[in-house]
Amino acid sequence: MKTFVYIDHFKGQVQPASWEALGVAKSLGEASAVIFGSGVDALAKAAFEFGADEVLVADDAALTDYRAEAYASTLSALASARTPDLILLPTTTRTREMAAMAAVDLNTGVLIDLTGLALEGDKLVATRPIYEGKLYEKAVCSGKPVIATLRGRAFPRPAQDASRSGSAAKIEAKAESPVTVEGYDVAEQAVSVADAGVVVSGGRGISNNPSLTPPAGMDEKQAEVWRAQQGFALVTDLANVLGGAVGASRAAVDGGYIPYSHQVGQTGKVITPDLYIACGISGAIQHLVGMRNAKLIVAINKDAEAPIFKQAHYGVVGDLFQIVPALTEAFKKKLGK
């Protein structure tokens, strides 16, 4: 089987699930990595190291910024010319669009966010979550090529072997797009609580770190807010490592620790992230309705009786000021950041 693997990146930072897709492609046969952008030699080198048999690069100033139409057209033209059996992409905001449009161009179908992919006879059978993960379906695509995006961390990542190398082949860019890129805001809280896949939240407990000494001259309330802000800095570090957003309980917002836009719960936002980590949140009912549909809930609280533990899948009864930084370090190591 001949597979094209699209290596998704933002300004040269590769979405690691791209390498996982490359591993899947290798297990099915011949794997070609496909890279779009400008000045992407480093990515081509990495693609060989992760096992690509061939690397196809559309290196063009007009592809510097992702634009759905241009990227989809470049992919479709390449696939028309070289007729792969399968095109794999990691699931990201970009690839959902590219895969969607390429399926229209190539008169085939698209399978999104797979957690499994297997060859049964001569048919590729995809497994994917539906109904918010309440069910899974096995689906097949009768068109050619089969276009599929793979959920991150659902497939093993191949080892990087620095001794592997090769020379990338240039392919043509189809850079026309009706969309003009004006710029980026890559702000600290760029992803809103509502849109984030991972949310790390702080509650009233975030202001209770007794080991901190506020700067001189603060009154009691100022000192409390100052302590809370130090606490939210720990929460933010963890959110950043996980690529997530910072949330807050109503108590934390009412306490003036953090702006209202971060609030989770009935009067704030109802959110359904894949992972919700509650730090120092006891779990008032309006907070629980705001987050209980998160796929995985983790609670860190010093009070073992806190209602939040009744909603959580994993809990730590302990001092968040020690646990949260330790968790940040653990993820840094395990995620290779």
Binding site: F10, K11, Q13, Y66, A68, A72, T93, R96, E97, A100, A103, V104, D105, G109, V110, L111, P129, I130, Y131, G133, K134, L135, Y136, K138, A139, V140, C141, R151, R153, P178, V179, V181, E182, G183, Y184, V186, A187, A190, V191, S192, V198, L242, G243, K269, T272, N293, L296, V298, F309, Y314, G315, V317, G318, Q322, I323, A326, L327, E329, A330, K334
Partner: protein, 256 residues
């Protein structure tokens, strides 16, 4: 400004969705407007308020999907259209996009077509981009902020790394995310108006298209092993040990 909001009807998020005899069932749980599509309606109404014009809600579904369209009307949409046909049983995403594009053309086109980011049922989140591709219009995906000036639309797109700000000429297809603003509740007057509204039903024949072939088909439904929500307490000798164990548990859940 002519704006179309594409919506779908789905089982409520609280529904206990199950597989029974190879079919998806949800007991007597209510069918509702797809929650993400409420943002499409909200965004459409915001633009109508800012620029003037009309909002038409468009839905593919069975007769029961009228209720989802009535919700959009009660929120403030001016018109609603239901595309319903016995031949539309198992549409894949490209098929749905073909039918929507035909319906948008029959409505007489639009300046903006709004979608939600994805549906609660299939969850692929690709129909907006496929509809844009079929119409040949710019696709502005995952939009959290919209500004229209003359025939130019400027938007802020919520992506993994932050926001990408882009612009395009109208007409355009947009998918909207929560940052657009909380969907308004239907007003009393709105609900009364919606209950009396005539909702035309268009068949494939009315649209002048054949039933799209389903290229993607479902072979099997799988019920994931149920996970009791009993909290597993992670303990250890030190914060580092607890954190290490907890990180492994989270990674094993494959939610990152």
């Amino acid at each position: 400004m002519k704006i179309i909001a594409c919506i779908k009807q789905v089982p409520d998020s609280e529904a206990k969705v199950k597989a029974e005899n190879g079919q998806v069932t949800w007991g007597d749980a209510p069918l509702v407007i797809n929650p993400f599509d409420e943002y499409a309606v909200e965004g459409a109404l915001q633009q109508k308020e800012a620029l003037g014009g009309t909002v038409t809600a468009l839905c593919i579904g069975p007769e029961s999907a009228r209720e989802a369209l009535k919700h959009a009307l009660a929120m403030g949409a001016d018109e609603a259209v239901l595309v319903s046909d016995a031949a539309l049983g198992a549409l894949d995403t490209v098929g749905a996009a073909r039918v929507l594009a035909a319906a948008i053309n029959k409505i007489g086109g639009a300046d903006m077509v709004m979608f939600g980011r994805q549906t609660l049922d299939d969850g692929s989140g690709v129909t907006a981009a496929q509809t844009a591709r079929l119409l040949g219009w710019p696709m502005l995906g995952l939009v959290g902020h919209i500004k229209v000036e003359d025939r130019n639309v400027q938007v802020s797109r919520v992506i993994e790394e932050g926001r990408q700000n882009v612009s395009a000429k109208l007409p355009a297809v947009l998918s909207l995310v929560q940052s657009i603003g909380e969907p308004r509740y239907p007003s009393f007057m709105g609900i009364r108006k919606a209950s009396k509204a005539e909702i035309p039903v268009w068949s494939l024949n009315d649209l002048g298209v054949g039933a799209p072939a389903s290229i993607v088909t479902r072979a099997e439904l799988i019920t994931p092993p149920s996970r009791e929500v009993t909290c597993e307490i992670i303990a250890g000798e030190s914060p580092a040990e607890i954190a290490d164990k907890l990180a492994d548990k989270i990674l094993a859940e494959k939610v990152l």
